[in-house]
Amino acid sequence: GCSNKSNDSKGSEMPTSYKTALKEAKGKTVTFYGYGGSDTQNRWVDDVVTPMMKEKGIKVKRVPMNIEDILKKLTNEKEANKKSGNIDVVWINGENFLTAKKLSLLSGNLDNSLIPNMKTYISGSDPDAKSDMGTKINNMEVPFGNAQLVMIGSKQMFNGDYPTSSDKLLSWAKENPGKLTYVAPPDFTGSAFVRNIIYETVGFDAINKAPATKAGVYKAIKPSLDYLNELKPYLWQEGKTYPKTSAQMDKMFADHQIAMTFSYNQMYAATQRADGKFTDDAHTFVFDKGTVGNYSYLAVPKTSDNKAAAAVLINTMLSKKAETQRLKAKYGSAIPPYSGSKVPASITNDLNGQAKENNTLTMDELSKKRVPEVSAKKIPIIEDLWKEHVLNAD
């Protein structure tokens, strides 16, 4: 391999300040492990972050790996009693963070003194900076992405009147059978849609307070499941089958086979339009009661060999310079993970400008219509219940 480190060397120590980190990291190579299926995000790392790191004398290697595989690798290292490994920065959130924390795979100390940009742009009181889907963060993660579910509807098929609530959605479906569907959970967006329906039908509190057991959750979300079952016969293929991936659903939407698709990116319709995949007909909207928003994070495994470089990378990714670039369409127009109150004006303006230009929602609108995530533990339970009571309901 290209990294000539002996395997029994002890994983490096996490530096205590950014300054020492910067010094220590010079000449090192830092690996960034993350989901590689988004070419805009890949491009951002490669075109923006990597050159910035290079200026600091640090090389970046991006490894496209799914989070479950990353976790498995980390547990394998732990089981094999290895103190040092190859993974420096991980893109993680939710259930996986919960697991990683449980297995104590992550190193802590990712605090304000180590990551100065966190101090600048993220307020300590921001709930998303404190816990990740209900799991306390304890300085093990740093916010990286800010995503919120948006609906994309066909102007022509909805006649400009978008179903901004579950009730509207149901009645439109009854009038236009076969024109709606959603990706089957456990797909990421499909699962988010189901949670959104839960918020619509029983509200965030009900699910938030329910015990994290199958019975508990079932009791809480029974009305939601009923709603989905009522909707089912009016879905595409009468709900007997669902698209398997959001890509497939996007294609159906592009072909006007269905009237609505979802995305975790408010600019998705715009980028798809620019790409020629969607027509001008695609219109972004959210439910009146709001949609699920969640954060993704960066973390450093305990076995990382280059913790200093990892810290520098995280800080660089959070920098205004990098995040401003990230607003560009070719980098996916991603909203920075900054706390609402600390977003620099230039970025807000930029986003709002884009929103107008591309006929999508502004930052402001979005953050108003944002509902928090349920606890990570409950997500698989909800998915199971959906499978049992909606998908396989007779």
């Binding site: 391999g1 290697k61 496209p64 790996m65 498995k72 290292e77």
Partner: protein, 264 residues
């Protein structure tokens, strides 16, 4: 007679369409932007896109290199292991042969998640993770069933008849292997090499897990895009993939068919 010939030709034609249609679609996907229902032809085709991408994308070139590096390594290791095994299976009668015959299939039968995640653990233990040998070993594991069985199918036809003859005429085991065994079974060998090369090229999870990110091959890059429906990029990678698979294999084929005549 004539109608039979025409029927045969029709079958050929149908077969060709079935094989080529998807390839054509992939090719079009790689160079087109908008291709929505109900248009039969993409609205927007950029013939140069693919080549521009290939030439300008350094990542792609790096991936190409590591893909081929691994594939060649895998082919070598696979053949080194598979040949003797196939010989043993086809020439000898021994206790446990039946069991071994079945065990050979094991690596491909066990779901790769179960094997690879645990193999990764073993590799980490031995300190082989991230190394060339480690990744090649992981690939080899999945090539072995194909290689052994293809070689076996071929070796069983002659058994050791001609090897015995060669040894009897004074050839050393090595001479026998290269002058008799290989030329007589080159069809099987070609098949085994081809399958190993292909299986290695298409390995995704193994390369990623055991490669520790040191080997970002074409498959590794491509896989997330396909599952995510980034069809155009996937198609671009796909075409490249096809080329680097087809060209070497085609060359091998030409070499094999031109070197010496066909058998019997």
């Amino acid at each position: 007679m004539a109608s039979k010939k025409i029927l045969k030709l029709l079958v050929y034609l149908l077969f060709a369409v079935l094989v080529l249609m998807p390839l054509f679609v992939i090719f079009m996907l790689a160079i087109s932007k908008t291709w929505n229902y109900p248009s039969l032809w993409p609205k927007w085709v950029d013939w140069g896109y693919y080549f521009r991408f290939l030439i300008t994308n350094a990542e792609m070139q790096a991936s190409l290199l590591s893909s081929m590096e691994l594939a060649v390594g895998t082919v070598v290791l696979t053949i080194l292991i598979a040949y003797p095994t196939a010989m043993a299976l086809s020439y000898y009668d021994f206790k446990g042969k039946k069991l071994l015959n079945i065990l050979v299939y094991l690596p491909m039968i066990i779901p790769s998640i179960a094997v690879l995640t645990n193999m990764d653990f073993i590799m980490i233990k031995y300190g082989l993770n991230g190394s060339f040998f480690g990744v090649v070993s992981a690939h080899t594991l999945f090539c072995l069933p194909y290689a052994i069985k293809l070689l076996y199918d071929n070796l069983i036809l002659w058994k050791d008849k001609y090897e015995v003859t060669s040894r009897n005429l004074g050839a050393t085991p090595l001479q026998t292997f290269f002058k008799v065994t290989i030329p007589l079974n080159k069809n099987g060998l070609q098949g085994a090499v081809m399958m190993s090369y292909i299986v290695s090229m298409t390995q995704y999870l193994g390369t990623l897990l055991i490669g520790d990110g040191n080997y970002i091959t074409l498959s590794v890059r491509m896989f997330p895009f396909t599952t995510e429906g980034k069809y155009r990029i996937a198609a671009v990678y796909g075409i490249t993939f096809m080329l680097v698979t087809l060209i070497p294999l085609y060359l091998i084929d030409v070499w094999v068919t031109h070197k010496g005549r066909k058998l019997a």
